[in-house]
Subunit: 312 residues, 2 copies
Amino acid sequence: MKIAIVGVGKIARDQHIPAIQNSLDWEFAATVSRHGSFEGIPSYTDLATLLSERPDIACVSLCMPPVPRYDYAMVALNAGRHVMLEKPPGASVAECIALETKARDAKLALYATWHSREAACVDLAREWLADKRLRRLSIAWCEDVRKWHPGQTWIWEAGGLGVFDPGINALSILTKILPVPVRVVAAELSFPENCETPIAATLNFGHPDGAEVTGTFDFRQLGDETWSIAAETDGGNLILSEGGARLMVNGVERSPRVPDVNQAMSGEYPRLYANMAKLTNERRVDMDLSPLILVADAFLIGRRKIVEPFDK
Amino acid sequence: MKIAIVGVGKIARDQHIPAIQNSLDWEFAATVSRHGSFEGIPSYTDLATLLSERPDIACVSLCMPPVPRYDYAMVALNAGRHVMLEKPPGASVAECIALETKARDAKLALYATWHSREAACVDLAREWLADKRLRRLSIAWCEDVRKWHPGQTWIWEAGGLGVFDPGINALSILTKILPVPVRVVAAELSFPENCETPIAATLNFGHPDGAEVTGTFDFRQLGDETWSIAAETDGGNLILSEGGARLMVNGVERSPRVPDVNQAMSGEYPRLYANMAKLTNERRVDMDLSPLILVADAFLIGRRKIVEPFDK
């Protein structure tokens, strides 16, 4: 099946393109980008031209920042194409719901991807937590924004999510590994004086059984990053670290049950593209908005703190 | 059917209690409030006591501010009671979804009320717009916060919504009268230096046919309030004013088709309680979250502006 990448930026080059090139399901057929292109692949500068000139490309994968994503997705769905969305699936909850409605009505595949959910040890953590009673869980998602988001000025503009651009990855894992839903009950968001989005945040979650669930998100961490979730339960404790790639249970390292022997299928993005192939064949929608709703709720009910300007 | 009011504040006294007292469906059986009570009606200071001592009361109507509402609602649903929620149905989107899931699982009635949707001319506006092509729509929802929200300090605290406490009424009308969904594409929120919630906001909406849809919300208006929605279409123009109570079409005043001859059924809150009676009999859920999602999206993607302190 032929697929086009729309938005040839850092994430497309680092992850999407290699995943497609190594995939047995997909043929990398074209790119759409105002400025970028990829050697040896037909490139278009606008989506409308691709859609009209390339009826052979049934699927588009949207890798641009969240704010412009909706318009591209709606145009592609209106042209009868299947759509795969980088995370977050849109800049707002309402626009994601509108896309979902459209895709279901048109019987097209639509996939709100959450790449961190495909990290090697996430399923193992979910299985381990399934029959435990949670007492405490804390997320620490801290990284150096200059190291991980060089030149991504959109992250500081309204709708760019700030520290929740990576932080939503933690929330996508949280909502996958817990057997019950959580909700944000309090939040503090730190906005640099010169930015529209927060550079740091702390969240408190409500949990149906009263477990104490918290999150710390910070873009100001220097040196190594911390992407971990620690949980205490009535059956011991768990530490999911390195963004879901490593798991310790009661101090003992666990390995993913099924080793990734087939390199074409290993890694977060190869799994996303395998999932998308399945959704496309079945013309199905996978649009779990719960991580984005938690972020929207944090903005809605959070206290705002103005902190020192950030030198972009 | 017996019903209890939980949270005896301004809105309960002004609207809920008279509506219940004039209703043919409901018997005003009790109040729950830490401080308030209502003459001649049994009063409880906590919900748990009411739920255990009064199995005859099948339904509770929650009138406290949005932040504490979820805990009360979940306790009531867990005790097998039907629940009616003042607007907004909760402080966050995720908690409303959790309540909805619980009510559906337990086959209990749950009603996210939006009182402005029951204003006299809202249905007429919806019917008139149904077959028109919208070109432009603007909301103006401006009022003097000191006149309409005396002593409601929670409105300025995190989760209190600020100007969106009344503004969500406009959004509840908007989402009822338009035949298609809209989404927030840009917002500017003005936060007083000393408040956690905005005192004013402007919103720009995306509309599927490209109509220009905007909203202005302001708590700083002195004198008379403005609660109006004006629309231009290919078939003329409409002005819905006084919070939905009056409708002008092409300059001519329209009257609600069915005059409210039965006084017990006239007005927004009497209609809400009639709707709740029907939901309770049918053990159904009516939980349209679209107005709250638009507000959450405005906070999520909005630009923040700090304005002069508000003297609460």
